[in-house]
Symmetry: C2
DNA sequence: TGTAATCCCTACTAAATTGATAGGGTTAAT
DNA sequence: ATTAACCCTATCAATTTAGTAGGGATTACA
């Protein structure tokens, strides 16, 4: 299941991408438009900023803006920042690999094989989708 | 992330499928072979039984057995029983649909669109994989 | 220079979920 | 009758989730 955090983050990014003026977008505006608790959203956007996806401007007329063109922002990057590993088990994760402690040999593990397939098919979707695609319509 | 419950369940099913004699397979044997806490495994196999995937025989020489040929058991069914919805958000779930309370119109929701794609690609994998595939090798 | 608007940061918390463990009940074979 | 096995319920500690609270730091502008 996708966390609310991730869902809100995606919606917020989409909102900002759609807006794309020269003015940064305020948290409160996004929160109101997308029905997201403001304080919660603040912390999410902060995460996205620290990850380099968003930039910010403080003070009056401040807000958040994209650091790249929407068409250059892949879902793989967004999802890894917001949700963590894309793989369903650590032993098939590209970026967060970890050995299972119950598994003597993962190359003979049926779950391992299956989850590699799932990972690859999900990755394909995320790699082929950019923020520009989300912002269409 | 896949729960341990699901992972253990998949391993257990694979174990039983590989064994496939006329004797039912005992919980303790699976638990020992696959490094799964026995009591925990008991409750998982019970769930699989109640869902109709496994049958059981009580008492001496008892154990669990498959109710169908491995090649007839799709991962979609197994995953739904063990892990619940395959979709990452309830609003794109085929079997557990639920409206998002923050979303006025889900057809205009960017997350919705993306998650439909993910769901479909994951479903494709699960539909094309049976327990017989997991039990290979 | 003061004030309001805005992002930034830390700490806390209630509720839910996960990954078990405990303890015994029921059934079947011998 | 005894033992081996599944069946069932309750409980629990740790972790994660979805926030809330409270204020600090910075900037625009009057």
């Amino acid at each position: 299941m996708l966390s609310k955090r991730t869902k809100y983050g995606l919606k917020a990014l989409t909102y900002i991408a759609k807006k794309e003026g020269d003015q940064p977008v305020r948290v409160v505006e996004i929160a109101d438009s997308e029905n997201i608790p403001q304080k919660f959203l603040e912390s999410i956007l902060l995460t996205l900023k620290k990850a380099g996806l968003l930039g910010s401007k403080k003070g009056k007329h401040g807000g958040y803006y994209l650091r790249n063109e929407p068409s250059k922002i892949q879902m793989t990057d967004v999802m890894r920042v917001l949700e963590g590993p894309i793989a369903m088990v650590p032993c098939v994760s590209l970026n967060y690999y970890e050995k299972c402690d119950d598994c003597p040999d993962e190359h003979q593990c049926s779950v391992h094989k299956l989850m590699i397939e799932v990972r690859d098919s999900t990755l394909k979707v995320f790699r082929n989708t950019t923020l520009a695609d989300l912002a269409l319509n």
